[in-house]
Amino acid sequence: MKELPANLIANPKLSQWFDIDRSHVTICSGKVELGQGIETAMAIVAASELRLDVSQISIGRVDTGHAPNEGYTAGSFSIEHGGSALRVAAAMTRELFAEAAATRLGARPEDLIVEDGRFRAPGRNEFISYGDLADSVDLDVDARSRPFPRLLGIGEIDEKTHRRDLPGKLGGGAYIQDIRLPGMLFGRVLRPHSPNLRLRELNETAVALHPGVIKVVVRNGFAGVVAKRDEQALEAVERLRQTARWEKVFDLPEDNEEQSWIDSLAVKPTIIEEPQPARLPGRRKKASFSRPYLLHASIGPTCAVAAWDEGKLTVYSHTQGVYPLRAQLARVLGFDLSDVTVIHAHGSGCYGHNGADDVALDAALLAQAVGVPVMVMWSRTDELTWSPHAAAMRVQVEATQDEQGAIIDWAYHVKSTPHLARPGMGTAPNLLAATELGFRDEVQETPAPREKTNFKIADRGGDRNARPIYALPRLSLLHSELPQGPLRSSAMRGLGAHLNVFAIESFMDELALDAGRDPLEFRLAHLQDERAVAVLKAAADLGNWQPGEAGGEGRGRGLGLARYKGTGAYYACVVTVEVDETVRLVSVHGAVDAGHVVHKDGVLNQIEGGIIQSASWTLKERAGWNEDGFSVKGWDDYPIMGFTEIPHIETRVLRNSEPSVGVGEAAAGPVAAGIGNAVAHALGVRIRTMPITRERIFKMLMEG
């Protein structure tokens, strides 16, 4: 790394990244803690360049007043982009302090030794610390004016540091739900029971005498209650619900397991790789794969606190992006950016664009109506119905093989509902209450393909990992993204990668089987990427892959491989299942190549979580709708994986000096694929529709 990272160029003052006084070194990252451990990883990055013990680093608050604007904490970019910017900023900061230390010590800065946060000249016993120099070093320096620094921390892998946020979280008061501002009231919002309904009228007087109710707020299609206590607001909203009349704003198609309704809402595809004009001679095979809508389903309630003070709004939010949220709040409320401050607060686990941004506007509207701070939490039903879902998807793939089985032609078409409908993306605010207030919503927007600067390749979300990792001589690739599906959808962990990798890797196994070849050998024969080869071989070795191992008899093994986004972390796995009436996940042996690893336990934790969450999506989860509206309204409608279902998991972390990349989303696709392949190996029948439930297995076996 010799060029300044983009996030440092965008936030060039070193004082945006570091605050150093006589007793503290505080880092200010724009990347937020979502449960993934990024605060700890960032502290390790900074400590390794400043040559401090990590315990001496404090983490600054992420807010729109002080933190560098690093956009969203998303896309597995926090280490790759945020970490690299912080690393260079830290190394520059160290060099600035070294210059000041050199003057005091009468030595040349490049000769100084820095250990445990103290500078000294070689052979001398005089020490001077960051704190000693804090008053004499001005960090209001533009990084672009400094020489590229020497990076001392590259190559160091932290294997000992514990998560700094966990002791507080295994205590009290660590989360946004625990904020208590003076005079704060509690709000709850009223939302319809079906995705195609909108509020028409309401009898506000129904709760006028309800205990604790301060105000009922109704603005167009938005309605909420503010009360002294949370349970009072909740009860009042449920009472108001009984008086609500709804109007239908669009017709719902018929939901089905194969998500074929997506075809009926067809849009013109974006051509990523041109279709090939003529078919090649050879053995042709085609298949369709699908995934239903999924839910974030975090355990804690979506929550925000809003406070108005003399026309200025302060919002506490567990958003992924304080700056983008601020922009859309200001827009919807008609305020200047400078009048809105968004402060990040820790929430329950975040796996993508959930309801955090929506509830921030809910809280702002309710607080505006009563003039005192208001906390709004969503109910479980609010969460499972109105928060953005992970997109429903469908894939059609066709391949031609030569006589040896080599793939000579590959045509792929992925269709999905939106994967990227974050606040401010496209032209709509993309905040639920904004739609209810009358802002044009996503339904009317036609998103243009996004040539995102953050990505090295064009990315539209649904096509993430649609491009196979394999070297294929002819490739056609189409992507159709509906402007809006029946349910709200946006980014969730892996985006299109979950189904795309499931489809590609399932189809690779099918092609291997047709050619009478071992799935591992068949993959290796089509791979030219050496890092992919290494990670696949490592997983096969760890999982003791045996070529030609007989399946059937209810036990099966399957492979999965991908490089997330085509540019992120590599992950491969060998999945073992036992299938009788249901699929029992026995083991997942995997290998990950995330470049230079900053915090090894952080990598392992994210990979383990990614495996379990992906397995849960793949085997159990489905959201949709029926004649009564949303089909999922509580946990009973949406089972997720539990303790008795957890497989044996082993992960080998490969070590190299490639640039660091994030791992939070790396396992999602390969694990789904490994499960699908293992189930097919066990049953002798291929299931191409997720989730792979007991009912679907019965159905497939009956159909033979």
């Binding site: 979280k169 295994l170 349970e231 389903a297 355990i299 309630p301 979580g609 539990g642 279902e645």
Partner: protein, 160 residues
């Protein structure tokens, strides 16, 4: 309103409260026990779990009258030497969390079950966790590692 009294994290408490109010609301909004977490409010996710006379109870579904005259314990107020404190300690040693939101409830239930005599076996404990708790981040692998260590300690303690 009714006068209720109970011991909370080792301290005697007596106050006027709506007897039908949930224990969760009382603890969080009247007594400031913010380590007890609101979750689904449907009695399923377990993030609101507290110990009542050493038994794990989902506080969102328990009315205040049900703790009158009883002993309530929470993770944030765990007394030194208690199973609650020990389970929390081992969970931290094993880094058994991602977002951490569900973990206080799980720690509480594990502590409550380990305090039982006889000590439950692993299958019973995990089945109980599945019936009363949810974790969405997928931190189960680490929690299981912690639980196995704790079960071993509990069985050795019982044997001694």
């Amino acid at each position: 309103m009714k006068r209720v009294s109970f011991v909370l994290d080792g301290q005697f408490r007596e106050l006027e409260a709506d007897p039908e109010l949930s224990v969760l609301s009382l603890l969080r909004d009247d007594l400031g026990c913010l380590g007890v977490r609101p979750g689904c409010l449907m009695g399923r996710c377990g993030s609101c779990t507290v110990l009542v006379d050493n038994r794990p109870i989902q506080s969102c579904s328990a009315p205040v009258w049900s703790i009158d005259g009883r002993t309530v314990a929470t993770v944030a107020g765990a007394e030194p030497g208690s199973w609650l404190a020990r389970v929390r300690e081992v969970f931290l040693e094993e880094q058994a969390a991602q977002c951490g939101y569900c973990v206080n409830g799980i720690v509480t239930t594990v502590a409550g079950l380990l305090a039982n005599s006889p000590v439950p076996d692993r299958d019973h404990l995990l089945k109980h966790l599945d019936e009363h708790h949810l974790c969405r981040c997928g931190a189960h692998v680490r929690m299981l590692r912690a639980i196995d260590r704790l079960l071993d300690e509990a069985h050795r303690g019982a044997a001694a």
